[in-house]
């Protein structure tokens, strides 16, 4: 009995100390995740529209252009011109974005009316997740996201063995998050005033403030052999092949049986509970997205901004619009931002 009490006491001290450390652990720095978080939290009552997504959103939506276009269209908020913030982050998984969104909405930002989420699949098993134990993989594994990820794993077509491996990975990452494993050096570097971004790809707070979270891809990585133009020069039929692939992908029958529909429902419900409109954005990419469209058609999501339609508008796959297969150039981002603003205007006018 005494032994059991001592074990419990030791365990309580372990968990208590871990909780204290967790509270002082900074957000990851990569791709501006932490500066964007810090900036948005400090200025959360200044924004009307929030975009959350991957680097496709990060490099594709310029809030200054969206805001200008909305103003030109005569759409304003109760407190003046609409202001938009881009919380796109390179490599952000849908689960990670969901965690980020929860954190950003925690204090119920006063002006925020519309949340635009990039419509990527709820993929719980990307290759990079397993055995990487990176800070980016760990930090979003709270109880809620781990539960969602485990459910998504169970829905996958993978074998039982693969599902077990994937589930174990998420449980380990959740354990690491819970106990702040591997974060000590970041806490120490924070105390020393050092940047803890291992890739040194972070934005500064000033850069975040200057463009409301947007950064053109051209300002991030100089043109190289993997850029759209270089590869197009090697193979002139490439652009058309990608457009054809996207069209064929969109025409594929949606596989909602293995898609975490429930996760989308939960995310939408949480956004709407905060009094905001939930919108899904499909960026012009290199794959089709029939599942997101099926969710829209079945009324599970109310607003879909679908720009992944080369059959309707192939211009996003033109040489001047792209920087690579996934990302738009500054010109492409300008075009997309204007088009997104036009659709947002309708949503905002209709009370969104």
């Amino acid at each position: 009995m005494r032994g059991a009490a001592l074990v419990l006491l030791g365990f309580a001290a372990f968990e208590g100390t871990a909780a204290v450390l967790r509270a002082v652990t900074p957000w990851p720095e990569e791709y501006g995740l932490r500066p964007k978080h810090d900036w948005f939290v400090a200025h959360q009552d200044e924004y009307d529209v929030l975009f959350v997504g991957t680097s496709r959103t990060f490099r594709g939506i310029d809030p200054r252009i969206v805001d200008a276009e909305l103003a030109r269209l005569g759409v304003t908020g109760e407190q003046g011109p609409i202001r938009t913030f881009n919380f796109g982050i390179g490599g952000m998984l849908r689960f990670e974005g969901d965690y980020v969104l929860d954190e950003l909405l925690a204090d119920n930002p006063a002006r925020l009316r519309v949340v635009v989420v990039e419509g990527e699949p709820w993929d719980p098993a990307p290759a990079f997740l397993k055995n990487t134990w990176s800070t980016r993989s760990v930090f979003w594994h709270d109880f809620e996201r781990t539960r969602m990820a485990l459910r998504s794993v169970a829905l996958r077509r993978d074998s039982r063995r693969e599902q077990w491996d994937e589930s174990w990975t998420h449980l380990q990452l959740a354990g690491m998050k819970l106990h702040d494993m591997g974060q000590g050096s970041r806490i120490a570097l924070e105390l020393l005033g050092e940047n803890s971004d291992p890739f040194q790809r972070s934005l500064t707070l000033e850069q975040v403030a200057e463009a409301d979270g947007y950064q053109a891809y051209e300002d991030f990585i100089p043109p190289g052999p993997t850029t759209w133009q270089a590869m197009q020069a090697d193979d002139p039929s490439r652009a058309q092949a990608i457009r054809d692939r996207v069209v064929a992908g969109n025409a594929r029958a949606p596989d909602l049986e293995h898609y975490d529909v429930e996760a989308t429902r939960e995310q939408k419900a949480r956004v709407e509970r905060s009094g905001m409109t939930y919108v899904v954005l499909l960026n012009p990419g290199d794959q089709g997205a029939p599942e997101e469209r099926a969710l829209y058609e079945r009324g599970i999501i109310d607003h879909l901004l679908d720009f992944n339609r080369p059959d309707l508008d192939p211009s996003y796959w033109d040489d001047d619009a792209r920087i690579d297969d996934l990302h738009l150039s500054r010109t492409g981002a300008e075009r997309l931002s204007k088009a997104v603003a036009a659709e947002l205007a309708q949503i905002l006018r209709s009370g969104g």
Partner: protein
């Protein structure tokens, strides 16, 4: 499965809980044997067959040696055991090395030989359990130990999971008697000491060694990119990394066994404080050093056949010790360097100057010389290839200027701090105070320290350096 992994903690919690709830010693041992198989099989279940082949061979050899009286027959059975063990080890660990080396020699001599080598997977811990198993047969042959009757007991001696994959190399004479009676949690387990040792080992491995690895690996990957100061820092840090990695594993192994009521051999004795090379080898990887001493150095004649023969014996032992570490020429060179250092020290200690009584100043000089010497053999041990080792040595000794990258001079302070901690633990500073703490305070302190240690683990999978051996 590593001692620092979550799944090990789960396995151990189950193993520990059921083990102590069983009353029968026989069932307890069988349970631990099953856990050991699960632990080893977690790497690759096929390796289990190989390990059990080794166990069966030495069990049978031991049984026969136990009742056969004729010297020739006994010698024949010992030979069978040694040839079988070294045959398995040789095939799985050295086949490719010897074939490649032979082809290279023939090629250099002008013979163009085309030989297909097999891609043989090296079973984890094979060098450790093979040596452990062999020591049993040799001890039985020497009549220093009675042969084990119970196969499960012998299997558990070889396969006992805390020491299975990276030692300490436990002697049968130390371990087998512990299997005779059921261990008592009250009498045989010092929970505070065991948990404290485990945490210490965890910190050494997961925080210090893995943290250092993350910092210095880039230096070894591209030596020309780094300046000379960084190479000196990396060399010193690698010495600390290897020590913390391996002794951390040993600490966790000893602590894990201790929580199950079994005592394993001490493997390290603050080697970074050694004041001469002989002293270093008395403190470093003690279970391997004493294995080579008892089963190779002494049979070769040790130091009883005069100085020259002693030097030759030492050189042979360290040549083979290097080869034991890995099937690569770098390990052979490393072993030869270690042996040569030891011979030089022996030579020196027999001189007038070297045989003077020790004192603080002499110890300090001895420590500096020894530490520098030890540091100089690790770049060979750590090297990825001889080209890069050559580049590193050129930069270290000023023949080349090195590149623009720098590790940061604050590492000097880090190295000094780590050595001071090493010295402090050697002198058990604070130990008496900790021991006086009431159990509740100790439990709180342990939990808090464990949480801080967990936070300071280096992220990413870092296998133990000695697992490859």
């Amino acid at each position: 499965m590593l001692f620092t992994e979550g799944r090990f903690f789960l396995l151990f919690a189950v193993a520990f809980g059921l083990y102590w709830s069983l009353r029968s010693n026989r069932l307890r041992k069988l349970w631990l044997l099953a856990c050991s198989c699960a632990f080893y099989g977690a790497w690759d279940w096929r390796f289990l067959g190989l390990m059990f082949a080794s166990i069966v061979i030495d069990y049978v050899a031991g049984r026969v040696l136990g009742f056969v009286q004729g010297q020739r027959t006994r010698r024949a059975w010992l030979t069978v055991s040694i040839v079988a063990n070294l045959g398995i080890l040789g095939f799985f660990k050295y086949y490719g090395f010897f074939v490649d080396s032979a082809v290279a020699v023939l090629h250099a001599a002008g013979f163009d030989v085309g030989v297909r080598t097999l891609e043989v997977v090296l079973p984890v811990g094979i060098s450790f359990y093979t040596f452990q198993s062999m020591s049993y047969t040799i001890d039985v042959y020497r009549r220093e130990l009675a042969a084990v009757r119970n196969f499960a007991d012998f299997a558990m001696y070889v396969a006992f999971f805390p020491q299975l994959v990276a030692g300490p190399i436990v002697r049968a004479v130390d371990f087998l008697p512990q299997l005779d009676r059921a261990r008592s949690f009250r009498d045989d387990v010092n929970v505070r000491a065991a948990l404290g040792l485990f945490l210490m080992g965890f910190i050494k491995k997961a925080c210090v060694a893995d943290g250092i690895a993350a910092a210095i690996d880039p230096v070894y990957v591209s030596p020309p990119a780094w300046d000379a100061a960084s190479h000196w820092i990396a060399t010193a840090l690698y010495t600390i990394q290897v020590y913390c990695d391996f002794s951390g594993y040993s600490d966790m192994a000893i602590a894990t066994a201790s929580l199950l009521g079994y005592q394993l051999t001490k493997n390290f004795d603050w080697p970074l404080l050694a004041t001469d090379t002989t002293d270093w080898w008395r403190r470093w990887h003690i279970s391997l050093s004493t294995w080579f001493r008892d089963y190779l150095y002494y049979p070769l004649g040790g130091n009883r056949l005069g100085p020259v023969r002693t030097y030759v014996n030492l050189w042979i032992v360290f040549f083979l010790c290097g080869l034991w570490h890995g099937a690569q020429w770098k390990y052979v060179i490393w072993g030869v360097m270690c042996g040569t250092y030891l011979i030089v020290h022996r030579f020196w200690s027999r001189s007038d100057l070297g045989s003077r009584p020790s004192g603080p100043a002499r110890n300090l000089i001895g420590w500096v010389v020894t530490t520098f010497g030890v540091m100089m053999w690790w770049p060979v041990f750590r090297s990825l290839d001889f080209t890069r080792t050559g580049q590193q040595l050129e930069i270290l000794y000023g023949a080349e200027p090195g590149g623009p990258r720098s590790l940061g001079s604050w590492w000097y302070a880090g190295i000094v701090a780590m050595l001071l901690v090493h010295l402090g633990t050697r002198h058990q500073i604070g130990k008496a105070w900790v021991e006086r703490l009431p159990h509740w305070a100790w439990a709180v302190g342990f939990g808090a320290c464990a949480a801080v240690a967990a936070a300071f683990t280096a992220s990413g999978y870092q296998p133990f350096v000695y697992f490859q051996f």
